[in-house]
Symmetry: D2
Subunit: 139 residues, 4 copies
């Protein structure tokens, strides 16, 4: 995933639409109903103690992809989604470089969309996994 | 919880030690092994689309309290903790004002500490609940 | 909770309506929109290895209460609920006696009901906690 | 997965060692550190209301595979594992036939083993997904 090219236009659009994505410097590679891919740089301001990328920054990164992927999978007549629950397992600390994420829909239903986001480091090692449920909103 | 006074010294110390807490403007009321209380202001840069406080900012806020509370509950011989899993349920959107959080330990064991964080809005209504497991690290 | 009296009629009705409740011998103390309370006996056939009550039996016990409590909190026009996600933290093994559970609604909305179930042993010590989301079904 | 052959000896051993596996009629196809595969028949006594396989039976089924897979991945010097948390997302009801599960380790560390279990129905459609953390016990 490390070799992919940042989609500057998509990144600009999404950072404008979802300001926290700008605050966290999330850069998007690609986005389609089948999956969203992005990265976020390690920076001191995104860390918890000891120079470790904050788990909260990782969850916010994944939630951003999940929300956008859910939007791309909206069923007919729906206008938006909202995260109703999110579960993260953490496997490894990130102390430099980037963290990469790929979000895919496990389930895209009429009332909920369930998304799986896999996160890895520069070496391709698994950093975290997020499973979350997005409720489909209408009207 | 809204009437409490910010502990400026604690807030400064923690924002320095955990830089993302500064990025997100987390302000601490109090911190003891029995509980940590804090707030975070709604700001556009912490939002997802439509001016709604980003669920990721909420999870990062709660994870910050959880990590610090776990530190305050470290058993003898332990040096640090790390979040190994975190589960959030979201109940209500925040569009202005502050979000308040109170973290308490559900379980403080030799190898894991489990923390419950309740989040509410200016009106005292429940915004989210986070349950997370912190692994106790030694040596 | 240990002193409460089993409601034999309620227990019979629910074991008939939800047969797994009978297979697991779930006995109900009380059930109202504000909460459902029940117990389940430790028995060898409900154990994993080493005579420890199986975590799966504990989750099934809690899910039974959660499903029934959600039913008692159905909004107007809704006909049923279904568990869409469930998260359990385990704190302590049960090797004899009973396990007690109390389920309460954290949130009862138009499309989802979120339930918190606290489980404890004969000594009143926390065994597990379950948070789950029930989707509200219509028509 | 439907075509696989039940391993009768493994099934007998595990149903004896973990009695709830017998109560629920869990039949094992295969078990190795790389994965455990099994099935459980729909039966009225494993149902909630309306003839739907009880979500609790599904979680107990998955937890049984997870516990055994964790045992097969124990690091040197460890003697057992215990489930410390488990998260399930449900996608589809099962009203007949069997439910199939395959458990794999997402992470096998010195202190925790994280397991992913995918569950599907006779038609191969996804019924549920379970992610759980097993703590490694020593001595």
């Amino acid at each position: 995933m490390n070799e992919a090219t940042i989609d500057q236009r998509l990144t600009g659009d999404l950072q404008e639409r979802m300001p926290l994505a700008g605050t966290l410097g999330i850069e998007f590679f690609s986005a389609a109903p089948g999956g969203v891919r992005a990265r976020m740089a390690w920076l001191p301001e995104r860390c918890t103690s000891d120079g470790i990328l904050h788990g909260g920054a990782i969850m916010a990164f994944a939630d951003t992809l999940g929300g956008f992927l859910a939007f791309l999978n909206l069923p007919d007549g729906a206008t938006a989604t909202t995260t109703i629950e999110s579960k993260t397992n953490f496997f490894r600390a990130v102390r430099s470089g980037h963290i990469y994420a790929e979000a895919k829909a496990l389930h895209a239903g009429r009332s909920t969309i369930v998304i799986d986001t896999e996160l890895s480091d520069d070496a391709g090692k698994r950093v975290a996994r997020v499973t979350q449920t997005q409720a489909v909103l209408r009207g």
